[in-house]
Amino acid sequence: MNLDALRAKLSYQTLLLGSVVLLTSGALAVASRTTEADIQAAAARDLQASLAQVLPGQYDNDLLQDTILIAAPDGDTTVYRARRAGRVEAVVFQTEARGYAGPVVCIMGVTREGQLLGVRVLKHTETPGLGDKIEPAKSKWIHAFEGKSLADPATDKWAVKKDGGVFDQFAGATITPRAVVRAVRQGLELFAKEKPRMLGEEKEGQADASRNRGERASTREGQAVVVKPLARQQPRSAGGARSAGTGMYMEVHEDSEHRTPHKGTPTFYGLKPMKDRMRPDHARAVDL
């Protein structure tokens, strides 16, 4: 057969490979163009649905359009604003903390008074069957945040019960709920700090000053990023600690260590030099 002779030729093989790649790339390009709009629409629907979950009640604006960028400890975060008759009644934004196996990304809705409307976990890679109880489909745990604010419970009670706080942990998984509690608390602190800008109520004259304040705040938050390497260490220390009791002890130390800054006055941040936050971290990295 003619094809047999042809198939053995180098030029045929080159042509074949080239045309297969061209055809498949073409198919992918066409498929990408046809599905793009639908995929974006689905993503927008997802976003809208998750916004609606943490934002009960009726609002009269399009949240997806009414956004503002706020400088947060881990980079800019988009704040969605829900208005009634032009006044911002609530805001929704993302916040994240390091969990057991990776970042736990939460979305939270906060009223203009600083009260939590709801929290949902958007993305996580926690252990199935243990850490995934933060999903509302698997446990009611996440609803415990509704109605809470920075004043209720008190700042030092913003922790899981094991650390002396008010939130339940799960049997066999403490790191995950701890990460969610931390993420939510950091979110509330961000709201408290950036409230005028989030609500769009800063006065013209103040705008400049508050922007400066914002910058200073974010450099100050630079120290709060201290928390992050610490938190990154946690999964590792916790990995060994899951079954053993001793490791847990160390974790509690880590956590109390990183809770202290929040108890201190803001000047505490400014005065403490870099070595303070670098040293224990490095020591721990070597230990592990």
């Binding site: 094809l3 490979l17 297969v20 498949t24 198919a27 997802d46 069957g129």
Partner: protein, 225 residues
């Protein structure tokens, strides 16, 4: 090759996981629960069927020397198409299966079937082979996932409604109430353990069956002379 032997091959004799020992990476990764195993199995079956048909259809055009890159490109394209299509038009399903679909690309069982069966057989038989191999793979994943889930968290088919829809919620069983869980089984080591024990069990069963067949054969032979 008859369809019956294709089916027997795919489901039992030449099972992807328990006989060919292929695709162990996705197998160990997703079988923390029976539902996840089922999702991965079904998604793989769909891709395996499509890739077998496609490769069988172009088998006369593809020359020996460049067949591997051609197959890989075709399989990767198929997986990407399935991924995009599901994301756009079956978004709810995609949210459950999305993680598994990307993993299918690295499933060497698909390339294995393309190479050893679809590239040498007519389209209809290749389709049957893809379907049966896929179902055998699904059965293996559900078995491994089921054992791990029962031992690890005391449930079976938990959250099946997320995958199959509300009408399959009856599948969700809590076998051991108030069970505190056995973490090892859900973590990767549990996957290795369960695969090992199930594999040993299958071998044992096969040996028993072979012995019985041999006995039956010698019995039927005995009276004849």
């Amino acid at each position: 090759m008859s369809y019956a032997s294709i089916a027997k091959d795919g489901l039992w004799d030449n099972n992807v996981v328990f006989a060919q020992m292929l695709a162990l990476c996705p197998t160990l990764a997703v079988t923390g629960s029976a539902t996840n195993g089922l999702g991965m199995g079904l998604a793989t079956t769909a891709v395996l069927l499509a890739s077998n048909v496609l490769i069988s259809a172009v088998r006369h055009l593809v020359s020996e020397e460049v067949r591997i890159p051609v197959y890989i490109v075709l399989i990767a394209t198929l997986v990407t198409l399935v991924d995009m299509g599901l994301n756009a038009w079956a978004h709810e399903l995609y949210k459950v299966l999305g993680l598994f679909i990307a993993l299918i690309v690295v499933n060497c069982a698909i390339l294995g079937r393309a190479e050893s069966f679809a590239s040498k057989s007519p389209v209809a038989e290749s389709a049957a082979d893809g379907l049966m191999m896929g179902l055998g793979f699904t059965a293996a994943l559900v078995a491994i996932g089921g054992v791990r889930e029962i031992l690890g968290s005391g449930t079976l088919f938990a959250n099946a409604h997320l995958l199959l829809g509300q009408s399959f919620a009856f599948l969700e069983l809590t076998l051991i109430p108030e069970y505190r869980g056995y973490l090892l089984m859900i973590l990767p080591p549990g996957g290795f353990l369960v695969v090992g024990f199930l594999l040993a069990g299958k071998r044992l069963l096969d040996r028993r069956l072979a012995a019985r067949h041999a006995a039956a054969a010698s019995l039927s032979l005995a009276p004849s002379p």
